[in-house]
């Protein structure tokens, strides 16, 4: 079914906003063109149409996705903006962009553009806007939910060439970076001065800040320091029509709606973030890193709850189960007890005074929860070894099976034993090995489902197993994702957590930024029908 009345207003490229320019410059939003607020109001006129469209299943191509084929004129025009070396158009070369870290689904873009500046991004998006072409933003392609998979988005915009650190302001504890800067490079640039950038996803040596912003990435240390959204103070966002808006800024407190907060975690559906002002954190005076060994995951999770209940907030509490411990030991020989049922890495940080007492208290709690051994890392090298083992656990699993899918669910901390039991049952049911390595402190689980992409039935089983685990998370009062995002991977599960009205409200919010849904279309919000049937264009490969 098609909502023709709606598409006549929104499917047109030369749509004129019914509100005037300007008048919306304040500390929160600076905008040079028709303000996004104007759009919000314009959008409100069509809210009922949108609701109708979603509920009744309007296909994406009606809502602003005009299928203009890519022509050589467009390629020339874009090359004039970004230079020939910023364009990839040959199918054989585009093949490597057909998936990110979520390899279950694959689809090549028709064109890849690598701009170097905000101005170039703006000019590129303007050119696409004129032709009604949707696009998909990509950072380093390390995402695990298929956020950078092109789904009816012929053009991919990659931020890898926007990788400059623009300003370091230690006194105000801020850095400003381009969105293609690698997460770890931010910390590397300020480490000497005793600072670090707190969100530290496992892929931090390669993933970009832009990708972190899209997925609202976390990491082990977010238990104490918070996730990406707690560290992004300001953004430069290029909207789908090429308009450049500044949200937030360098100051700590601001009034009005938290638009930065709306963009962080929007998975690229609000536009392309080109710059970000980030909060940086002083390195704690010292660390105590403990390795606690347990006979099973249940005892380990009991210890986690007991530590938090005792009022202690460690920098990180990470859990690895037996399968992961073995994989990691084979790979890195980090000195983990190979026969343990589970281990916890507990890191306490802060002022030196009191740290040892705290470590003693944690040791005591872990022991009474059933830890057979609690070991303190003796020096920095031992601590680094433990973290290396933890951070590279995902990859180490690659040694056990040709492929894996990393799930990312959240449950209330006290339900960890229950969800782990479910995961064990799912593993048996589908005959797939599943390892567990996760941020136990905040109840963010990461079951790693092993499979072989050469066996279609295993791929299907892996996807099914993941879904079952996520459904259990939601049932226990948890959430579908802690940090990897919904992408395409978990779109189908969104209705488990949200009512149709919720999803409509989210879509309305998204359309404040991107009324035509041209920026990373067909992500996050389930497409009509996609929860019951698999759309052909994106499921080209295994399923």
């Amino acid at each position: 079914m098609r909502a023709d009345g709606f598409s006549s207003a929104y499917g047109c490229d030369n749509f004129v906003f019914p509100f005037g320019r300007g008048g919306f410059r304040d500390r929160g939003i600076r905008s040079e063109n028709p303000s996004i607020i104007a759009r919000a109001t314009a959008g409100a006129n069509a809210v009922s149409a949108i609701c109708c469209a979603i509920v009744h299943g309007v296909s994406a191509d009606v809502i602003g996705i005009a299928a203009t084929p890519l022509d050589s004129r467009l390629v020339d025009e874009l090359a004039a903006i970004v230079g020939r070396d910023g364009i990839v158009s040959r199918p054989s070369e585009l093949k490597v962009y057909e998936c990110d870290g979520w390899t279950v689904e694959k689809n090549s873009p028709d064109l890849l553009v690598m701009p170097r500046t905000t101005e170039q991004v703006s000019a590129v998006l303007k050119a696409l806007w004129r032709r009604g072409l949707p696009f998909v933003p990509r950072g380093a392609g390390t995402g695990l939910s298929g956020g950078a998979l092109p789904v009816n988005a012929p053009v991919m915009i990659c931020t890898s060439k926007m990788n400059h650190i623009l300003a370091i302001d230690l006194a105000n504890r801020r850095v400003e970076v381009e969105s293609g800067v690698v997460n770890l490079h931010v910390t590397n640039a300020i480490k000497r001065d005793g600072f670090f950038y707190a969100p530290d996803p496992s892929s931090q040596q390669a993933c970009t800040i832009g990708g972190n912003i899209a997925e609202n990435s976390g990491g082990p240390h977010t238990l104490k320091y918070g996730v990406t959204t707690n560290h992004v103070m300001g953004l430069t966002l290029v909207l789908a029509d090429g308009e450049v808006v500044e949200l937030g800024g360098w100051a700590e407190e601001r009034c009005g709606y938290d638009l930065v907060g709306a963009v962080v975690g929007a998975e690229g559906t609000a536009g392309i973030v080109t710059r970000a002002v980030l909060k940086i954190v002083r390195e704690p005076e010292d660390h105590r890193t403990l390795l606690a060994t347990f006979a099973d995951v249940e005892a380990a999770t009991r210890a986690v709850s007991a530590i938090i209940a005792a009022g202690i907030v460690p920098g990180a509490i990470e859990m690895m189960d037996q399968l992961i411990i073995r994989a990691v030991e084979d790979a890195f020989h980090a000195g983990l007890p190979a026969d343990a049922g589970a281990v916890l890495i507990i890191e306490l940080d802060g002022l030196v005074a009191g740290l040892d007492e705290c470590a003693a208290r944690v040791t005591e709690i872990a022991r009474s929860a059933g830890a057979s051994e609690v070991r303190l890392a003796r020096d920095e090298a031992e601590r680094a070894g433990l973290w290396k083992a933890r951070k590279r656990a995902f990859g180490a699993v690659g040694r056990l099976a040709p492929n894996y899918a990393t799930q990312d669910g959240v449950v209330p901390r006290t339900r960890l034993p229950d969800i782990l039991r479910v995961i064990g049952a799912v593993s048996k049911k589908y005959h797939l090995a599943i390892g567990n390595v996760f941020h136990a402190g905040d109840g963010n689980i990461h079951p790693i489902i092993l499979y072989d992409e050469r066996k279609p039935e295993e791929v299907r089983a892996a996807v099914e197993a993941g879904r079952e685990i996520l459904a259990a998370c939601v049932e226990m009062g948890g959430s579908l994702t802690g940090e990897h995002g919904i992408g395409v991977e978990k779109q189908g599960e969104m209705p488990l957590l949200f009512s149709p009205e919720d999803l409509i409200a989210m879509t309305e919010l998204r359309r404040v930024f991107d009324p035509m849904e041209r920026s990373n279309p067909n992500k996050v919000i389930p497409r009509p029908g996609s929860c019951v049937e698999v759309a052909a264009p994106r499921r080209q490969v295994p399923i």
Partner: protein, 423 residues
């Protein structure tokens, strides 16, 4: 998988099973020098592995694009250090290169360039003969004039050559024999190294002797085969490997080292390379097992008292030393132990300088860009010396420093240590 279902023919590009070690996580991206500069997935390890897979599955033709992206890899193996999945990238790229050489016809210019490199560099006698006239020209002070007259491609090659007068050509007398019961070490003198970096070989022998090792020599040194292996000439590489296995085994040394880390790594991998050789598999394995690193040997026995060298140094990690042999701390420890020496850490110390065997001869543009980046970092340290343990890196970095007229001395670790031990 598309290819399996569509029934496309499988091609023998690489050991297909090895490709599945890669889980497409992308952690290798920033460790790759070509990705660091090009910022594009095709020129990253993950992208190249994807390409190899697509080639093997018959989903992609071996066209100029595919060959280009495989050619551009330096084989530095920085990705292996970064990889959590244990992908054997070195083996994959070597096999893929052999596939390209066998199945892809390059441009005339490319073929000529490669033919010259292949015909000359692995053979010390040929290289010496070729350099003899240049040596006379240099003696007459006419090398800059000659360089100015040559076309650009050749000029860049000439620029890479170290001052030939500084190359100790002749075989120096053996260092004094140590305690006959001391462990014996053989220094593989290499092919290009024995012509252009003989002082590095001799210095290695001298410092080993000073540490109390018994230095033994090979009767005759042949190229280790790394140059061929890295450029896809697998058969000749295997020939060289077999010859070396026999000659090194005949030395009966307890440890094998090389002043060129690329050679050390190649020898350390003979076991894997010749694993299917009916005659030499076992011997190759045992030869490979005796490969050590100079710094490890010296730290084991300790060096005699060294004189004070008031200077600042920075250390550049040669790719195959750090990513191939996994040696990172040893050289730094040795340098820091010399009285008066202050070690300054080099930013991106383990990012390839662009030398990469004969890469700077076959891919001059990318090699040059990497040299610029490396030298920027070196200059930023403000050190008096940049120390490294590979002659190829020395030539590459020294050439770029000369172009910048920077006053930082390039020196091999063995020569620096020999300097501290002298007098």
């Amino acid at each position: 998988m598309a290819s399996a279902s569509s029934g496309a023919p499988m091609r023998k590009v690489v050991d297909y099973e090895l490709l599945f070690d890669c889980v497409h996580c992308g952690l290798c991206l920033e460790a790759c020098p070509t990705y660091a500069l090009k910022r594009a997935e095709m020129d990253s390890p993950r992208g190249r592995i994807y390409l190899m897979k697509a080639l093997a599955e018959g989903r992609l033709p071996l066209d100029s694009d595919a060959a280009r992206h495989l050619d551009l890899c330096l084989g530095c193996r920085g990705c292996e250090t970064a990889c959590p999945s244990g992908v054997h990238y070195g083996r994959l790229i070597e096999d893929a290169r052999a596939f390209v050489e066998a199945n892809y016809r390059r441009s005339l210019m490319d073929r000529t360039r490669r033919a010259i490199v292949n015909a000359i560099f692995p053979y010390p006698a040929r290289l010496r003969a070729l350099l003899a006239p240049l040596k006379s020209i240099e003696r007459a002070g006419l090398r800059p004039a000659l360089a100015a007259m040559l076309p650009r491609a050749m000029r860049e090659w000439i620029e890479l050559l170290p001052p030939l007068s500084g190359c100790a050509d002749e075989r120096a007398a053996m260092p004094p024999a140590a305690d006959p019961g001391a462990p014996a070490v053989v220094v593989h003198h290499g092919c290009v190294a024995q012509v252009l970096a003989n002082s590095e070989n001799l210095a290695s022998e001298a410092v080993l002797a000073a540490a109390g090792y018994r230095v033994v020599r090979m009767a005759n040194t042949a190229c280790c085969g790394a140059l061929d292996l890295h450029s896809g000439n697998r058969d000749r590489a295997l020939d060289f490997a077999r010859r070396n296995v026999r000659m090194l085994a005949a030395c009966g040394a307890d440890a094998i080292i090389s002043a060129a880390s690329g050679c050390s790594t190649a020898i350390a991998e003979y076991g894997a390379l010749l694993r299917d050789d009916p005659e030499l598999a076992g011997l190759a394995k045992s030869v490979s097992a005796t490969v050590r690193d100079l710094s490890a040997l010296l730290l084991e026995r300790g060096l005699p008292t060294m004189r004070k060298l008031e200077c600042t140094v920075t250390f550049h990690d040669a790719c195959h030393l750090v990513h191939g042999l996994g040696v990172r701390e040893g050289p730094r420890k040795l340098l820091s132990s010399i009285p008066g020496v202050r070690l300054i850490e080099l930013a991106e110390s383990d990012l390839c300088c662009g030398s990469a065997g004969n890469y700077n001869l076959t891919e001059p543009e990318m090699a040059r860009e990497l040299a610029r980046r490396k030298v920027d970092n070196i200059i930023a340290t403000g050190a008096d010396y940049v120390v490294m343990a590979n002659p190829g890196c020395e030539f590459q970095i020294a050439a770029e420093l000369r172009r910048r007229r920077a006053n930082i001395k390039v020196i091999h670790l063995a020569r620096f240590l020999a300097m501290a031990l002298a007098g």
